[in-house]
């Protein structure tokens, strides 16, 4: 390999999101001379900690750390670079009638709590946990593998298909049927198989719609449930947690790990074009006009941005471009980051209950979730939105001055395009009011405690982070865009149609969430190609 210097590198990674950094780390550890170029002045993409209000640190995009593959944490030695994940201590849903459902990590307490709403559901919950665990065990080993191309007869693809078949076969006949149904069912139907109580169903259904343009009654949403359930903290399956110091801690640790293994980072360097010479990657041009040369260019951007904006259409097959245009990326989520003068009081929750030291919700029926989705379909933000609300500063004091608190509020649904017209500040404010009122309805002193609120629409997320339509998964997680279909049938193996150009963003298998798997898999594909070349 030719060494670094004179603006020439072995590999250039476009975008310092968590997947770009993971890919970079693995390439650097394999001895490549790697440069990561980032548009913003800070690295991290959508996994960042930002000081936007004095003394407060916001995880202003992604806010929960559970999907990050343990293999990656271990191999890149992230704890040594300051990554510390603190598990939730509970979770809860407050009901409109003043009641609540609390989730505790103490299993017996949890059973008693569910039994308060339905004895039968308390029993079913065991069955539910068991089945979810089975699904997790089934899917986990597949996350860090390159999906095979079912149309190809290449030995590797055939072997990989056989591996999948065997992996599936090991489930045994009944489990295989359950799995097939689980993958194709709607979350509402799936939960109906277990539970009778609305509040229990509503609480669990929440994670089936986060980030997707689906409702809990849309077939396929049960899988999204799993996608958020694959979390794993210190071996506890399904556990969710905060990154100490905010989500930036993840990407900061990745950055440090990268530099420790000889990789370089350049922020404030937006890429204008990915250069292609005689049918293969030759480098990138920055907005400043500066040229950086490399025979491998890895894009952390979503496929639409990569191929429709950063690459020159004449370098790509027209049919491929048509498919890229058909790739479904839909903005459906908003976010509020709120600086609070103190800890808000939630009358529904018993004082001092650990259930507030986790994810809090206020949507108490599946129908409410579904109606929130109906609003999105009509091009308006949900009038009664689903919110995933956290106050990390209860556990992590580093994010706010003492006595004060930072609240992260994820909001579903919020469209990228409004039926009433373009997003502007007035509309942004009124969207924010909707959310704040929703929370205020459950906490009398909440509004008075607000010191500062950052309101983020899909439009803002696109403009700041560069995610098309502000979709947090870089593409819908529907059947037509999963596994060997993700992002595009025939191009699911991280390789673009142009030699030397690779994709490593969440647009690729296994998709979004701060998981890092796409980055790791992309690095694997690149290193295999290099081995083959020598």
């Amino acid at each position: 390999m030719d060494g670094g210097g004179n603006g020439r590198h072995d590999a250039i990674i476009v975008g310092a999101g968590h997947n770009g950094l993971v890919a970079a780390c693995y390439l650097a550890r394999a001895g490549l001379d790697v440069l990561v170029v980032e548009r913003n002045d800070y690295i991290g993409g959508a996994a960042v900690s930002r000081q936007l209000y004095d003394g407060f640190t916001y995880s202003n995009c992604s806010y929960v750390c559970s999907l990050l593959r343990t293999e990656i944490i271990r191999e890149l030695n992230l704890p040594a670079y300051g990554l510390q994940i603190i598990p939730y201590e509970g979770g809860c849903t407050m009901m409109r009638d003043g009641g609540h459902l609390a989730l505790y990590d103490n299993h017996d307490a949890l059973r008693r709590e569910i039994a308060r709403h339905s004895r039968r559901d308390a029993e079913s919950y065991e069955r539910y946990l068991r089945d979810m665990l089975r699904q997790c065990r089934f899917i986990k080993p597949l996350l860090l593998r390159e999906p095979p191309d079912p149309t190809s007869f290449k030995p590797r693809d055939v072997m990989e298909l056989l591996h999948l078949a065997r992996h599936f076969h090991r489930l045994g006949e009944q489990r295989m049927y359950d799995t097939v149904r689980f993958w194709t069912m709607s979350c509402a139907d799936f939960l109906d198989q277990y539970f009778e109580s609305d509040i229990v169903k509503a609480h669990l259904a929440g994670s089936s719609i986060i980030g997707t343009a689906l409702g809990p009654r849309s077939p396929g949403s049960a899988y999204v449930l799993l996608h958020h359930y694959m979390g794993n903290i210190d071996g506890t399956v399904g556990a969710w947690g905060f990154a100490r110091g905010g989500m930036g801690a993840v990407t900061q640790a990745l950055g440090a790990s990268l530099q420790a293994s000889g990789g370089q980072l350049r922020s404030g360097a937006p890429v204008e074009r990915i250069l292609v010479r005689d049918g293969r990657a030759s480098g990138v041009v920055l907005a400043s006009g500066e040229q950086l040369r490399a025979r491998i260019v890895v894009s952390n951007l979503d496929v639409r941005r990569t191929f429709l904006e950063v690459m020159d259409s004449k370098d790509l097959p027209p049919e491929f471009l048509a498919q890229v245009r058909n790739f479904k990326i839909r903005g459906s989520s908003g976010k509020l980051n709120i600086a609070l003068d103190g800890l808000p009081h939630f009358p529904a929750i018993p004082h001092g209950s650990p259930s507030t030291r986790g994810d809090m919700h206020v949507t108490d029926t599946i129908d409410m979730l579904e109606r929130a989705y109906d609003d999105w379909k009509e091009g308006r933000w949900s009038r009664a939105p689903y919110i995933d609300m956290l106050i990390p500063t209860q556990i992590d004091p580093t994010m706010a001055p003492s006595g004060k608190h930072y609240m992260s509020v994820f909001v579903q649904y919020c469209p990228y395009r409004l039926a009433e017209g373009e997003w502007n500040d007035a509309r942004r404010q009124s969207f924010g009011r909707t959310v704040i009122d929703t929370i205020g309805a459950h906490s009398p002193d909440f509004k008075d405690l607000i010191l500062h609120a950052e309101i983020r629409t899909p439009w803002d997320l696109e403009n700041e982070v560069g995610l098309t339509e502000g979709n947090i998964f870089q593409g819908e997680l529907t059947f037509d865009q999963l596994l060997f279909n993700r992002p595009i049938p025939g191009y699911a193996q991280y390789r673009a149609p142009v030699r030397g150009v690779y994709m490593c963003g969440s647009s690729t298998h296994p998709g979004g969430g701060v998981m890092g798997a796409p980055g790791a898999n992309a690095a694997g594909a690149i290193l295999r190609d290099l081995k083959r070349a020598h």
Binding site: T151, G172, V180, Q193, P219, K328, E370, K377
Partner: protein
């Protein structure tokens, strides 16, 4: 003592009986109603006005089946075949959906006119690849049986043979939502609405529901081998059942109408026969149920004979219908604005856009009927005057969405919904209301009551990805035999579903004979 008793004389039951009788089995079909056919019957709904009670068009029954049972020889004629489909809307000119002549479409949008035939051809290619799947018993998963593995390999190979491009497309759109599929290729809302209509017709899905492309593929798959494309049998759909009954008799089978089966008899863990409501017991070696799975297992057999896991699956089967049927007795021929007379031979689709369908579907999610329903209209008396008194006409319409579980309760809402549908039609056919002499609305509740289909779903169970092929109706009963030895299923609840296709019946008969052999 019979070899086989078929519970229910619906079209699938009759098909199954005919094939078993032809294989020298002594067969008895027990039908609760006074005429055979189940939901595939023609009946009088107003003095002198006759109509196909549920399904009103024949388009899925394979030609091979019709030939093997010699249905033409037994008097089955088509009053009209290769029927045209026309998209209508209150506020715009109708659009003929004819892949061979897109002039009407070209006038609206040249690009769509060019894309439409290609779209049809591709769907047909993909459908044709799936078609053999419909005619076979679904293989089981994860068994050691070479037969199962072989059928999976065959299926895989058939899809592979499509060639790389089509195979990828099939794997991509197989689980897709029909709105995405149509948005990718077309612009004209009226066209997309009409094409989306066929995807969600009879399904508890909206155009945005992932998996809504499946029913569409399914339809094209069946139509690929169908005897008569989109056709209207002379004398209504009941004529098909009559011809099937004749085929049963000709093969030496027996049929008893007015014989309601109350229970399926079990003796030493195998089926022994049935008991009728009259108390009469009839012994048989095998009992094949044309009834829907819930009725069969929970009512006729009884959950005490089944293990809890299986019962839970049957109970969890999604089987609530969303399609209502409207029958109008008309004093004169309805005048649909801008619709050519020959178009009235076929079906008119009222679903102006995908957004319109999605909004109609929204109501169904919350147990309400659609404020603006989507409607498939036929006027069968145009090609078959015998259905109505001289000079008068019958209008038969499928209407969505009308959920089985209506919050307000159908007994109160039936009239309101009937008026709502008529108003909706009136906008496309001014003067329609004035011509109405009688009206009948069959909600899923009524369909459940009249045809004894639990949930009033014309497929007996929702035809969706999670209740499809090897998991239809439920694992453990997907190969037509059930956990109770000697008991088989042959109804629309099994693969490949209903829609007067007859394949569930034929597949079940073949499976039974294979196992007996």
């Amino acid at each position: 003592m019979y070899d086989c008793i078929i519970v229910g004389g619906g079209h699938n039951g009759l098909v199954c009986a005919a094939y078993l009788a032809r294989a020298r089995r002594s067969v008895l079909v027990l039908e609760a109603a006074d005429q055979v056919g189940g939901a595939a019957v023609t009946r009088e709904f107003a003095p002198g006005f006759k109509v196909s009670a549920c399904a009103h068009l024949l388009h899925l029954m394979p030609g091979s089946l019709m030939r093997e049972l010699g249905l033409d020889a037994r008097g089955l004629r088509m009053a009209a075949a290769h029927l045209p489909s026309t998209a209508i809307a209150a506020d715009q000119a109708p659009l003929a959906l004819d892949p061979s002549d897109c002039s009407g479409l070209a006038a609206r949008c040249a690009a769509d006119a060019a894309a439409y035939p290609r779209y049809r051809q591709r769907l047909q290619r993909l459908g044709a690849a799936l078609q053999p799947v419909l005619e076979a018993t679904p293989p089981r998963l994860g068994t050691a049986s070479w037969q199962d593995r072989w059928s999976w390999l065959r299926l895989g190979w058939r899809i592979r043979r499509l060639g790389r491009r089509d195979m990828r497309e099939l794997l991509r759109i197989g689980g897709m939502c029909v709105q995405d599929l149509l948005d990718e290729q077309f612009d004209t809302p009226l066209l997309k609405g009409a094409l989306g209509f066929d995807a969600v017709l009879g399904a508890n899905l909206g155009p945005r529901s992932p998996g809504s492309v499946l029913p569409l593929l399914y339809r094209t798959a069946a139509e690929a081998r169908s005897g008569s494309a989109l056709a209207q049998p002379a004398g209504g759909i009941g004529a098909v059942s009559q011809a099937l009954a004749a085929a049963v008799f000709a093969a030496g089978g027996q049929i008893r109408t007015g014989a309601l089966v109350e229970r399926i008899l079990v003796n030493e863990d195998r089926v022994a026969g049935v008991v009728l409501a009259s108390g009469e017991r009839i012994a048989a070696r095998q009992v094949i149920s044309n009834a829907d799975p819930k009725t069969t297992f929970l009512k006729l057999l009884g959950s005490e004979h089944l293990d809890t896991g299986f019962v839970r699956r049957v109970t969890g089967l999604r089987a609530g219908g969303v399609t209502a049927k409207l029958h109008l007795a008309l004093g004169r021929l309805p005048q649909f604005t801008g619709v050519a007379p020959q178009a009235l031979l076929g079906r008119l689709l009222l679903a102006p856009s995908l957004a319109y369908i999605e909004r109609a579907f929204n109501h169904a999610k919350y147990g309400e009927f659609s404020a603006q329903p989507i409607i498939e209209v036929t006027v069968p008396s145009v090609s078959d005057p015998g259905l109505a008194p001289a000079g008068k006409h019958v209008l038969s319409a499928l209407v969505q969405y009308a959920p089985y579980q209506l919050l307000a309760g159908w007994q109160h809402e039936r009239v309101r919904f009937t008026q709502l549908i008529i108003d909706t039609l009136e906008q496309c056919a001014p003067g329609l209301r004035a011509g109405i002499e009688a009206a009948e609305l069959l909600t899923p509740m009524d369909i459940e009551r009249e045809f004894r289909i639990n949930g009033g779903h014309w497929h007996h169970a929702e035809l969706a990805l999670d209740q499809f092929f090897m998991v239809r109706p439920v694992p453990g009963a997907a190969q037509y035999h059930t956990p109770m030895s000697g008991l088989y299923l042959c109804g629309a609840g099994c693969h490949p579903g209903g829609g007067v296709m007859g394949l569930a019946g034929r597949n079940a008969a073949r499976q039974l004979l294979r196992e007996a052999a």
